[in-house]
Symmetry: C2
Subunit: 232 residues, 2 copies
């Protein structure tokens, strides 16, 4: 798989509204931060990003301002826009809130999965099996993001989804960072995640959205515990 400049192509596409272009750039930069392409502390140049995305600084600044509100970057006048440090203690609060909110997805406006959804999830399980056998930490994270976004569809509560998305991307960096520092047993992590996927798959087929939420909650909580253990 080669690194294609998909963002430039996508932005060159016509028929995109202003909102879409903004969302695309936001999504792309956020993903780069969470995949550690942009490491914590790294300086993001507005001018460089503007050139890359084929626009001026103004739209880029709007995206960066949003990312700043979301806690992923921080701008300093005269210095630059820096990727925030994924501090463990500070993110513990985010993790704990995520755990509670995830459990809530089963109670607040759950969406019963239809056949198409279950089919898509089956595809994800297959893709996960491939990663267990031969996958990098980065590919796994990318996969984890896709799974998360798919599971988000099971809640119709928009503010809950929006909040969970913010929290997810704030914490996700922590895992990948620990993995790259070899603090985590990658193979074990893959297997655990795959087991979780299969459990969710089972719950989905019985239409039990609340069970899906509980499985997720347990997984997030345990994942954080493993992280906490290895960090000390």
């Amino acid at each position: 798989m080669t690194q294609v400049p998909l963002t430039q192509e996508a932005l060159a596409d016509e028929g995109l509204t202003v909102r879409d272009r903004h969302a695309l750039m936001h999504h792309e930069i956020r993903q780069r931060i969470c995949l550690l392409d942009y490491l914590p502390g790294m300086r993001l140049s507005e001018a460089a990003l503007a050139e890359e995305f084929g626009t001026s600084r103004t739209p880029i600044r709007r995206v960066l301002a949003r990312l700043e509100d979301e806690g992923l970057v921080q701008s300093f006048h005269g210095v630059g826009t820096l990727v925030t440090d994924a501090d463990f203690d500070a993110l513990e609060q985010v993790y704990r809130l995520r755990v509670e909110l995830t459990a809530m997805t089963g109670r607040l406006d759950p969406v019963p999965p239809d056949f198409g959804y279950i089919a898509r999830f089956d595809q994800l399980v297959l893709r996960g099996a491939a990663i267990v056998q031969s996958g990098t930490a980065r590919a796994f994270t990318q996969f984890d993001i896709d799974v998360f976004l798919t599971l988000q569809e099971l809640t119709a509560n928009q503010p809950l989804r929006q909040t969970l998305e913010r929290l997810y991307f704030q914490t996700k960096r922590l895992w990948l960072r620990a993995a790259e520092e070899a603090q985590l047993d990658l193979e074990e992590e893959f297997k655990i995640f795959q087991h979780q996927l299969e459990a969710i798959q089972c719950a989905l087929k019985s239409g039990d959205v609340e069970a899906v939420a509980h499985i997720q909650r347990a997984h997030i909580s345990m994942s954080f515990n493993r992280l906490q253990q290895k960090a000390r």
Copy 2:
């Protein structure tokens, strides 16, 4: 109490960093929306706001973009920036999430109140008593905002506070709107709120932050129920 142009004075103050100016304008415009100075559907002119705050459109646009992320306004190219409609059904989700999250403030990183905090809360109770006797819906809402922000200090969990603040300002308009449409018994609402304040005061003095959270939760839930009843 006269309408003083406090924002212009505050913005004219030196020694304010860029962040502070941004926060001031954000706070001011958000408050105007929630106090229904800017009614749902009303068009906010960037140029007019820029002139009022003594700046150019650029910083105003940043504030409006943030308000758009928070769901209070929505911008349309070539049309304008409109205050979002406080739709009841859509905000029901927000209300329900608020109820759950408020209960969580007692469990996630509660902050035991010190003597100074209790003293400040006593002041609030006194101020509330004055509103019960002779207060407008607007003054009450302003008071409610201050109480909310004070109670927020009882949680050290930053993301939880940030989330609750978003949700609070999204729903607060609904109450004031119903009150102004005379759907609510104002005097009754005042008394109920004052009773809640005194209950919280009692809980604070025994240092039971979790009880404070539960009282809040119950109040928010009941307040929404009264709103729901009167709306039909």
